[in-house]
Symmetry: C2
Subunit: 343 residues, 2 copies
Amino acid sequence: MDKKPSLRSIAQQAGVSTTLVSYVLNGKMQNRIKPEVARRVREIAERQNYSPNQIARSLKTNKTFTIGLIVADISNPFSSEMARIIEDRADLAGYTVIYGSCDERPEKFQKLIDVFLDRRVDGLIIIACDGVLPQIQYLLSRDIPFVLVDRYFPEVASNYVALDNFQASYMGANHLLDHGHNRIGMITLDTELFHMRERTRGFVTALSEFDPNPEQSIVRLKDGFCPQDIEQAFDVLLKRELPVSAVYLTTNKLGMQALKYIHSRKIKVPQELAVVSFDETEFLDLFATPVTQIKQPLQEMGEHAVRILVESMGGSSSFTQVNLQPLLAVRGSSIMTGTIGVI
Amino acid sequence: MDKKPSLRSIAQQAGVSTTLVSYVLNGKMQNRIKPEVARRVREIAERQNYSPNQIARSLKTNKTFTIGLIVADISNPFSSEMARIIEDRADLAGYTVIYGSCDERPEKFQKLIDVFLDRRVDGLIIIACDGVLPQIQYLLSRDIPFVLVDRYFPEVASNYVALDNFQASYMGANHLLDHGHNRIGMITLDTELFHMRERTRGFVTALSEFDPNPEQSIVRLKDGFCPQDIEQAFDVLLKRELPVSAVYLTTNKLGMQALKYIHSRKIKVPQELAVVSFDETEFLDLFATPVTQIKQPLQEMGEHAVRILVESMGGSSSFTQVNLQPLLAVRGSSIMTGTIGVI
DNA sequence: GTGAAAGCGCTAACAT
DNA sequence: ATGTTAGCGCTTTCAC
């Protein structure tokens, strides 16, 4: 690797001081520098193919123009799509993204926080997982700018961008109720995360008018569930005195796996079982009967996240909290006839 | 943000020099340092919750322990899955990944290279796109360690990890030939990239025994093709004197979109049309008839890539080139009866 | 208008 | 066994 050009190498060749070169190349002190000199410096920098050493600059300025992104599970399309959007917007704002997936494990989360802070990121965008409240509080205590995306902790004041998950579930359940289903099952994850609790609450609230005991129709699976777990869940909902006529899946992975199961058992959708799934994924459009989905406005969420973080890194001391509304994309899986479209 | 602890703050509190603290915390000069002092230093570091400033360390050592990852198109599951694997393996090797997607555009690629080099990454892992040969040559001339993944330039000597794409297509086409198809269409991308040329060559080679003019059955679409393009492609293949009885899709996106089309037209698979697609994606398992796929060993590719890069960053001067063999996962879309399984 | 010099936090060659 | 010192490449204050 040949020696990289530096301020010094340019200064030497131009016969000026590094200070001057720094000023010229950063466009500072424009009014005081002889245009003739400025031109010469720029030309030499160009010829040497100079680009500043960001490491040195960072050490001096205490700014790295780097954002750390922690996602809960990169193998989830929600995360990878969000990562793409965030990288894009960060780039526009002049930031580079370093990222990692905590795989829903607090220890890995902690490790990523440590690595990112050692690298002096200017701020963090976080899709949190169960059990990371202490780390979040640590970040707050250290005054490190961050934004939570999708998942947040209502008991903690912080920046966040999230969906109105209660409303989302409420809307999904009501959609099924409106179409004549009143025995509706829900398969969800066994987690303490607030956004999932809200999804449950929305479902329960919608159903409680018709169903004295909606809890009976909720099956909770551990994250990392396997096909057998899905099968058992369906057994609970379908093999009882009053089987459900519709099922609501609260995450895209649950939706995927449930549909695979339904497909393998040749259960007719929506005739024998109506289906609504949370999250948007191209997958769900591919089944013989495309699946009605509750969509999150990903692009918007990512844009907000970066914008809020940039403001926060700029010194804004107040917290910004954004709650976005979901979209219900009605497909064939939840209605027997009639219009199909997006509400 | 409260003052971060530094070597100096520890040194002061311990009443020793920063050098000593540095040695202790880096486990150097173990034999020469009084254990008693070492213990004290460690304890104080612990109490101050010290963690070293990697920026400063990097400036000094000229090592950032950062890898730049450039993917061609992050919205492609191939890229995002690969990114996950690489991040994972890099982490094991003590490296952090910064990443960006060039969205198949050389200008964006150039920009990412610049950003990553300014940040002094120790090396790069690259899923290249059309038209970046000059940048690759620039990296070579600068002696910057990098590994090409999936796509490489045969006319340039460099590290790479790739699939044997010729063999993959050859195998896919032969599979269809073996099952009684001899009018086989191929829909592919219009690109100069070597790996795609190889996919074409494998197809043509396999077919040429049976088909005097296999080129007639190849349709090339521009990257970023739309549903209409897919429709036209199928028109070419299906609406002619001798329509094809099977179609081979050379990328996962083409596979996806083609299947969507086939599905919408209610074309029966495999009775009316047999289908084989390149790349593995869960999508393709979801159709009424799951789709036969040519699988790339992603995990292995990612592992090789990181390993080769680490070796290369360690100073190895020779190039390592890895060609991996594909796997044909036979599903219902390509055979009328008989065994279904993975060859 | 321009330059000298200090210093960001760390490492390492060179004292002692 | 430990400390002194120089310096990585840059920014910025202060002096001329």
